[in-house]
Symmetry: C2
Subunit: 351 residues, 2 copies
DNA sequence: GCGATAAGGGAAAACCTTTTCCCAACTCAG
DNA sequence: CTGAGTTGGGAAAAGGTTTTCCCTTATCGC
């Protein structure tokens, strides 16, 4: 009989119930419940005694029973189709953070791009009586492959295209682009090129339009944005076009605003291979602030951050207030980006 | 009064209950329950009628009520501290896949490295009566900052250090390293270097040891692995050391096995800058198979894949069988890696 | 036509907690 | 000492489902 090191039997003995607490304290379950919840009337002594017993027994109320009664599960579903992407993780973390602070747990639903799988998840959520659903994607301009429009529970869309009449939160891509271009202008750059992704993406146009507007507003010549792919390789190719032998050296840009960090990486590498110095000859700014890329470029990349964690947090809070019965203004709300300045864009002339 | 386009009032009218189905079908709730679950005895006609009514009313059983009764919530918690990492996402997707197919939903718990937050999440899970917990991390050789050892519900550890006596699943890093080195040997490479991460990581030693063993087993000279950081920059530096002027050209390695894909990227870039051709002069293999990096290197990078999605799937299934009462052998189970061959290692001499 | 058996279906308890309503006992003023 | 008011605490219903046990009715053999 080894008296030490009680080996904590794996036996799943059932959790302590309120009934047991009440019995141990010599009161009814009703009184026990009221004591623990600060409800009802009783002597302070009784209340304390019940609390002490509950504490000693390690009582924890069964949320399933509570939910059944309250018709509120304090649980929401988080749908995403971005399995491998870098967008969903910070977003999900933001959602989770905002909600756990409010006692709400989050069901993770990875739906890929599979309608059947999505249906499966949504039905599971509904059966589990989630209080609401957050739909998340990898593109602002695409729907998830699931219909969430007649769900009788609130739905918030974050970083994905919302249903008409629903509430959606996305990044302000135009604003982010303005941030980048205006920063270049403050640094004294004047011939600013824009190398970005494929025409099929709405953000490509939103950012390109903002780029044009800022330049036009400053009376500067507006180059035609170069549309391509979201890849390093395209960044290389774009440099070949912008800095090719066809143009004179004085026709070269002194800044390149890139549609994402991978393009920027390609641009920077290609410039170095051509002996063009970054940031001395040409400044570069990326988009997404994907740290692991932005910090590995030489020099480290200034980039527009979409604040996805905040976006997630806001989405969580928006859903919470919807669940609480507050009517939220439907429509798309754009959340500001921020510029994370590293060394690829250069310092201000005076500094 | 527009008669078309009924605007689907947002009113949250409560879901249909079994009682309503029973009433509509003119039977008792008991009979209705049995009809829908294929239990009890009744005429096929009755059963069908009840099913039809349930269908028509859109009845879906309330899982909270079911869980309360069955003492099983068909829900598990997924703890992770890898908020921004590339490891957790495929792992989580694998877990989620394996479980949703079994009707089990997954609570996402992002605990950062914060003990308080972890405690909060674990208690929330316990209160919600999860059937089990999967603990996930970003390092095999580190604990999560939470104690899960006396939890009365099963716990499975995936890609993080398990508690003693618990069941844990990790990648077989030594096996992965062998895969890489043996592939080089098959390709006829003989002077194989190893550039890897910091000494503080257990995987660094596991992989280095396997690297040594394979070379020794083939009677080849074993170079000392170069330990550094998990970064591109270290890859650059390592090339400077391996291919520096100190050694004669014939002392140069003809292959470099890298501890991760970022190091490999740095190595490849540095080799190109030195005019050394990959894979003709030197083959390179990475680790992690981080596609977005592996496919952007020039040439695309051969890399060891840890099969994290499978790992997640296995972890989910292991937890499920534990929850089902099957006693699982405690201890660490290592799951094999696989080599994803691209173009950075060269083709076999004959091919 | 009678007893036995099977078939079809229902009543009620159970899961755990919260909340409303109620009851008994006590206090206090008159 | 009586009536009103207050205090402390309990009984019971509610929430939705499953399951056990029981009851009624029909069927069948003789």
């Amino acid at each position: 009989m080894s008296a030490d090191a009680e080996p904590a039997p794996v036996s799943a003995k059932p959790p302590v119930t309120l009934r047991e607490v009440a019995a141990a304290a010599g009161v009814s379950v009703a009184t026990a419940s009221k004591a623990l919840n600060g409800q009802g009337r009783m002597t302070a002594e009784t209340r304390e005694r019940i609390r002490a017993v509950a504490q000693r027994l390690g009582f924890r109320p069964n949320h399933l029973a509570q939910s059944l009664l309250r018709k509120r599960s304090f649980t929401v579903g988080l749908l995403t189709n971005d399995t491998y992407g870098r967008f969903s993780l910070p977003l999900m973390a933001g959602v989770s953070d905002a909600l756990v602070d409010n006692g709400v747990s989050v069901f993770l639903c990875n739906v890929e791009d599979d309608t059947r799988l999505g249906q499966l998840h949504v039905e599971a959520m509904l059966d589990k009586r989630v209080d609401g659903i957050i739909a998340t994607g990898k593109r602002i301009d695409r729907h998830l492959p699931i219909d969430l429009s007649n769900l009788r529970i609130p739905v918030v869309y974050a970083f994905t295209q919302p249903d008409p009449g629903a509430v959606g939160l996305v990044s302000d891509d135009a604003g982010g682009a303005r941030l980048a271009v205006e920063h270049f202008l403050r640094l004294g750059r004047r011939r600013i090129a824009h190398v970005t992704g494929p025409a099929g993406f709405a953000v490509v146009h939103a950012r390109a339009e903002a780029y044009r507007e800022v330049l036009a507003a400053h009376g500067l010549p507006v180059g035609e944005p170069l549309l391509g792919a979201w890849s390093e390789a395209w960044g290389h190719d774009a440099v070949a076009r912008l800095f090719g032998s066809g143009r004179g050296r004085e026709g070269w840009p002194d800044a390149v605003f890139c549609g994402n960090d991978q393009i920027a990486r390609g641009v920077i590498d290609a410039l170095r291979e051509r002996g063009i110095r970054v940031p001395d000859d040409v400044g570069v700014i990326g988009f997404d602030n994907w740290e692991i890329v932005a910090e590995a470029t030489r020099p480290p990349l200034t980039s527009v951050d979409m604040n996805l964690a905040s976006l997630g947090r806001e989405a969580g809070l928006a859903l919470l207030s919807l669940v609480g019965g507050q009517p939220a203004a439907p429509g798309i709300r754009k959340l500001p980006c921020r510029l994370v300045v590293r060394q690829s864009c250069g310092r201000p002339p005076g500094g």
